[in-house]
């Protein structure tokens, strides 16, 4: 029997809804299954435990933190129905710019010999600003010209990589100050990753920004008619994604204690993979930060598990590709089931 909402005591009284598991449950199960599979394979092939090794787990999370920070931004872009292919290049560009302002006076051929030993906020702020600017370009291109996000960010991807090379004529930037290097050491990147994920988890769920982001992804035309300034909102979303790529650039250069233009090639794909594995739908309107965090961890477990089993890096990439495709197929399947159920 159907009742109008008015006749129901309270919306929370719907039992059907409560029985449903959160969408992340499935992805979390995949994560656990993968970890257990590596544990088992570990005992069989290398006679070691995969999980009972704190050091390995720490390194694993450290490795994916940078991807995680990018994925937090990319998830929001994907929820609007867009895509950001520029993040890896933007990471490299911001790493170069930030590193060039973080050199110590001991550097032999500093990029700016007059600007060494600067307080750490300056390179950090510069990195974030460059990242946000790249995102602003992405967003403005999409909003003003109406070209597909794929094309706009592809252009920025190429240009940002070129800019990163041009910036020092291809030379790496090294000899960074200790306070700057401290940003990338220890568990700091992990803390930063989890903090950004938390901030944007809250933003997506509890703020107007989040509601509008989902609405645009669900039906852009309807969102416009409902009074959302779609173009302006997209600019904000892409700028945030750029800012987070900038943050990732700072973390990368601090951890490597240098900046190189070839850094983080293909990172955009890992970030997109983390979001999609985490349940974000490339058709827009769907995605959650908790899923993205789990998706990031899945990437980490796979990478670290393969290294642990001493399997060649080539195979890693092949398997990673397969996982991404599987995640997209799973999304399609979910959508189709939802449509035929209607």
């Amino acid at each position: 029997m159907h009742h109008s909402v008015a006749e129901r005591p309270a919306p929370s009284a719907a039992p059907a809804r409560l029985r449903r598991l959160p969408p992340e449950a499935g992805i979390a199960l995949v994560l656990i299954a993968l970890a257990l599979a590596f544990e088992l394979l570990g005992w069989i092939f290398v006679h070691q435990s995969f999980l009972a090794n704190a050091q390995r787990l720490v390194v694993m999370i450290l490795q994916v933190s940078v991807i995680g920070v990018i994925a937090v931004g990319v998830t929001q872009v994907i929820i609007t129905g867009g895509i950001d292919l520029s993040s890896g290049s933007v990471v490299a560009l911001t790493a170069m710019v930030a590193a060039s302002l973080a050199q110590s006076s001991e550097a032999v051929s500093a990029v700016y010999p007059a600007l060494t030993d600067l307080p750490v906020v300056i390179p950090v702020a510069a990195g974030l600003a460059v990242g946000a600017a790249a995102g602003l370009v992405n967003g403005s291109l999409i909003a003003a010209t109406g070209i597909p996000p794929f094309i706009a960010t592809l252009g920025v991807m190429a240009s940002a990589r070129g800019l990163a090379r041009w910036y020092t004529r291809g030379q790496p930037v090294s000899m960074l100050t200790d306070p700057y290097a401290a940003i990338g050491s220890g568990a700091v990147p992990v803390a930063i990753f989890l903090a950004t994920a938390l901030v944007f988890h809250v933003a997506l769920r509890y703020t107007r920004y989040g509601k509008f982001t989902y609405a645009i992804g669900a039906n852009r035309e309807a969102a416009r008619v409902a009074g959302i300034r779609v173009g302006r909102h997209l600019i904000v979303v892409y700028s945030i994604a750029g800012l987070l790529s900038g943050l990732a650039g700072v973390l990368t250069s601090a951890r490597a204690v240098s900046g190189q233009a070839g850094m983080r090639l293909m990172y955009e794909l890992d970030a997109i993979a983390a979001a999609v594995i985490g349940g974000a739908s490339l058709s827009g309107g769907v995605g959650r930060m908790t899923g993205t965090v789990i998706g990031t961890l899945i990437l980490g477990v796979v990478t670290s598990g393969f290294t642990f089993l001493r399997i060649d890096a080539y195979y890693q990439e092949i398997v990673k590709g397969a996982i991404i495709v599987a995640a997209v197929v799973a999304d399609q399947y979910r959508r189709r089931r939802r449509l035929t159920a209607t």
Binding site: H2, H3, V5, R208, K211, A215, A222, A223, R338, T342
Partner: protein, 502 residues
């Protein structure tokens, strides 16, 4: 009257004991129906009664939890719409399922294009077949036109043409006329009579009860997922039917009380949009319903879009409260107190994948329920729940996704979205499209209440009774121009049709 006399023809399709529930909530319970050769079997019921669900089961789009289908006595197991089509069952869906970027011809013949020896599409043949089909429906459409550029009524005709192109034995029509004007609807009825004479069995879902007496051989009514009864339209009056559907008597729509000397809320002066309408001038007073009548394609929807800032006028001026204003975007319109319920809820209304609650609150969030960017979820939920019960939206839970609601209830959600903003000026484009009689009466009462509280309403409608029941004045449009503005006592159906069709 049903020309095919007694509905005693041999059985074509039998639905027996069909039940279906969605996440534990029953949408259909033990429904048994028969469709005979060469008859039109009308299916009626309130929004959410289960009509579309039942029809989707017959068309293989979803599978029943219990019960079975028999086609000419043989049990039928349908796993997909493709299997239903192969068995000779085609369906015209309530929500259009067309590809906007493809041409009319491609949409109709998709995956069945005539091919030459090399496996390439024979375009000329494709166009010829399309033209023949459209001619049969009496519509004048270019087979090569891109579908997305066509008005809703034309897209509806394409959907109908596609279903006809299968030459099926069973044809299901789920509210085919809800987006059509009277003229297109008449043509469709002629086609239906022709199909019936050729022995096709037709399931026909509608909320327009008056259509039935001219069309249906049998009428079945569903209420809350149960089959209430089947009868012959000859044995029923309009009131009987409504009583079967709703289970109670309906209050008649309130008579519009004339407004005296109310200030002008919104006016247009020589407003034009090249290619759509030209030199449109009118005044809309506070507390008034200005009905906008006209044939489909007369530029009415574009006029509303222009008033709301979706399209920008190429000439002319809009004034609000006497002052000229520039409305170049929906937010600009909203900030001036304008709300707009669009005609096509799928393209420009619903946010699929999001909940009923999120669909209701979205426009209000630009102004209300937000502090420092954070949504006050409790306040928003209370306001939306209040609106949902005021509009009697039938949803198991406000957290359900909007696309799980029946069409009429989706429409109410979209209306509620704007009412939450308390607009001073409300633009309504076919406000009761796909809404059942009971809900329609409720929406009409609601409009009357809003108007008596001083809201100015511009209401576009292709339903003459709706225009006549609610409007204080009627503006008739013809091919992008105002053909006349009639006062209530001069607005008769004959006069309106005369101006609209001239």
């Amino acid at each position: 009257m049903g020309a095919a006399a007694d509905p005693v023809g041999p059985e074509l399709l039998e639905v027996s004991g069909v039940s279906k529930s969605f996440s534990g909530v029953a949408a259909l319970e033990d429904v048994t129906l028969r469709l005979r050769h060469g008859t039109v079997h009308a299916l009626l019921g309130e929004n959410g009664a289960g009509k579309s669900t039942l029809m989707r089961i017959v068309a293989g789009v979803c599978t029943p939890d219990a019960g079975e289908l028999r086609l000419e006595g043989r049990a039928l197991r349908l796993g997909s719409p493709g299997q239903a089509l192969a068995a000779g069952i085609a369906m015209i869906h309530q929500e259009l399922n067309l590809l906007p970027a493809m041409s009319v011809a491609e949409n109709i013949w998709i995956r069945r294009e005539p091919l030459n020896a090399l496996g390439l599409v024979r375009h000329r043949e494709l166009r010829r077949r399309t033209r023949a089909l459209l001619e049969r429906l009496g519509v004048d459409l270019d087979p090569q036109a891109e579908l997305g550029t066509l008005p809703l009524a034309a897209r509806q005709m394409v959907e109908i043409a596609r279903a006809l192109s299968y030459d099926s034995r069973v044809l299901i029509m789920d509210e085919p006329t809800s987006a059509l004007g009277e003229r297109d609807a008449e043509r469709l009825f002629a086609v239906i009579r022709d199909l019936r004479a050729r022995g096709v069995g037709i399931f026909y879902v509608t909320h327009r009860i008056d259509e039935l007496f001219a069309l249906a051989d049998e009428i079945s009514v569903l209420r809350d997922g149960r089959h209430v009864g089947t009868s012959c339209p000859r044995d029923l009056t309009r009131r009987d039917i409504i009583h079967m559907m709703v289970g109670r008597e309906l209050s008649s729509p309130p008579a519009a009380t004339p407004v005296q000397a109310a200030p002008v809320a919104l006016s247009a002066h020589g407003l034009s949009l090249e290619g759509w309408f030209c030199d449109v001038s009118f005044e809309l007073h506070a507390g008034e319903v200005l009905g906008v009548a006209g044939l489909v394609g007369s530029g009415r929807s574009k006029l509303a879009e222009t008033l709301f800032g979706i399209a920008r006028p190429t000439a002319g001026e809009i004034r609000i409260g006497g002052a000229a204003v520039r409305i170049d975007s929906p937010p600009a319109a909203i900030s001036r107190g304008i709300g707009f319920v669009t005609e096509d809820r799928r393209e420009t209304g619903c946010l699929p994948g999001l909940s009923v609650l999120e669909n209701l609150e979205i426009s209000a969030l630009a102004r209300d329920f937000v502090r420092l960017g954070f949504v006050h979820a409790g306040a928003a939920r209370r306001a939306c729940a209040g609106m949902a019960s005021a509009l009697r939206i039938k949803a198991p839970d406000l957290r359900e996704r909007i696309e799980t609601l029946s069409g009429g209830n989706q429409q109410k959600v979209l209306l509620g979205r704007w009412l939450l903003l308390n607009p001073q000026i409300l633009l309504l484009d076919e406000p009761t499209r796909g809404v059942d009689v009971g809900a329609k009466a409720e929406i009409h009462q609601l409009i009357a209440r809003l108007v008596s509280a001083g809201t100015a309403v511009l209401m576009i409608s292709s339903e003459m009774p709706e225009i006549l029941a609610l409007s204080h004045r009627v503006m008739v449009m013809h091919e992008g121009r105002v053909a006349g503005i009639l006062d209530r006592d001069l607005a008769t159906p004959a006069r309106i049709m005369d101006l609209a069709a001239r």
